[in-house]
Symmetry: C2
Subunit: 297 residues, 2 copies
């Protein structure tokens, strides 16, 4: 039996950071024709080598695209990529589905969705969790906000990049869900790193402690994966402190707007700001340890 | 082939709370003869029904015992049970191994070990993690402080109660390890419950959010097990807020003595104290939610 040939939509891909590169490669492996645009063309080398076309402008990347996928740095980048006169919404064609996978502001996602709708374009906010490894292996969790129709249209494409793909609600809901993810991680990291500092100062062997506490009620992804890195003296990223701080600032502003005081998250913000003052902006989030243990290397 | 008959040591068991009862029953199921003493005899009913002997005093429980096992409430109870004139150390026989499984103060564990050693008794501090379910199923994590010889002698007995049994170092090290466990949990609970409050105020469905964030970098035992209880409006224990606060106070005092400032743990202490003020002392630790969400039921 032969499978019927399905023609996959064309993808305009914007961004080629560590995450974006891996995600673009997975989209191409699934058979989607892909045009890539990025501010730093050299970073797209492996995507181009894998057969992507180069677009010198956003307009070139999106004019003919059925799907636009973007994963860039900060909300200001997202705003420019989508809403500037030479941006996605000015040049994508009606009926296209534009998917921003940057972790960004829920209100901006809503603004983009409204502006997109006015031009007959569907927009989804679809930030991810799972890090560089998840992006490479196509096992990301993708948290989606937008209409059910746009979600259904984008799902096969999203499945080429992730494993857990959930529509959370209307525009902005993907970003809000990602904020929940980061809120959990922020305080959990404090607990994990405070426990490590305590273990060391109490004269315990931190590895032996992990044998006792790793699999029970204290168990978490951060404890199993990031505590051992600090034990090994490894502050390398993983996920940059400065990007995590960006997310924390978004979550704090949103919570404030909801009339919600998140004291744990506020404390994490202070401690991660200390890590930046110590020179750790481009270290991994486990460098929080440096703000806790006065004897930290 | 017949197994050689091994005569198992006699166990004097002190305490019959929720944890102690299940642990005593597992010790008896493994074939150990057991004598039980407790302040509230009615609570020992099922242990007695399973074949244990009743001891009206601590002296009666421990005089003939090869192993003493205690799991009582607060450090003051541990002090009285072990160091009072009518306590364990005054009446246990030389060569016995006395195992306190209460979560208590590391310094007290060291004091008991020294006093025990002066009488030829071996002492272990061996607090547990895993809750009522772990106690019932014999799957506790048991964190042990004391000598390697005493640990080796007690290991088969401990194996009747737990699954992960690790010698962490000299006297007090079991208690210090348990403090590490509680330090991780304290801040993690803040993150989990703040995320739930955020999700609700953002208009998300908390169950759908959990689908997205439960299995990735935000994943933890608390997120998978206690977040859903709050979603269901269930603040029942589990583990009492007042007992968790006891543990947090011990950990804060120890950290202070080490010159270590644990800001996350201090914040958790404030928030759990608020839960007590709200009447939640005998609710489960997930009642932390009440200190976070002004709209909490």
């Amino acid at each position: 039996m032969t499978e019927p040939t399905v023609e996959l939509g064309k993808v305009g891909f914007i961004g080629s950071g560590v995450m974006g590169r891996s995600m673009a490669l997975n989209v191409m492996s699934a058979g989607y024709p892909l045009v890539v645009h990025t501010r730093t063309p050299s970073k797209a080398a492996d995507v181009l080598q894998a057969g992507a076309s180069w677009a010198p402008t956003i307009a070139d990347a999106v004019a003919d695209a059925d799907f636009v996928v973007s994963i860039v740095g900060f909300p200001s980048d997202v705003r420019e990529v989508y809403l500037a006169p030479d941006g996605v919404l000015a040049h994508a064609r009606p009926g296209a589905v534009a998917i921003d996978m940057t972790t960004s502001e829920p209100a901006l996602a809503q603004e983009i969705a409204a502006a997109a709708g006015a031009r007959g374009i569907e927009a989804l906010d679809a930030p991810v969790s799972g890090g560089d490894v998840g992006a490479r292996d196509g096992t990301l969790s993708i948290m989606v906000g937008g209409s059910a129709d746009a979600f259904a249209a984008a799902l096969p494409l999203l499945e080429s990049m992730g494993r857990t793909i959930v529509l959370q609600g209307p525009a902005g809901s993907g970003q809000h869900t990602k904020m929940c993810n980061q809120i959990v991680i922020a305080s959990n990291m404090m607990g994990v790193m405070e426990a490590l500092a305590y273990a060391r100062h109490a004269g315990l062997d931190p590895r032996t402690v992990l044998e006792s506490i790793g699999a029970g009620a204290a168990g978490s992804w951060s404890l199993s994966n990031l505590y051992p890195r600090v034990v090994d003296g490894d502050y390398g990223p993983g996920f940059f402190v400065e990007h995590f701080l960006k997310d924390i600032h978004i979550a704090l502003a949103e919570a404030d707007a909801m009339g919600l005081e998140l004291n744990g998250l506020e404390l994490a913000e202070e401690m991660y700001s200390q890590v930046v003052e110590l020179g750790g902006a481009r270290q991994g989030t486990q460098a929080l340890y440096r703000a806790i243990d006065p004897d930290a290397p």
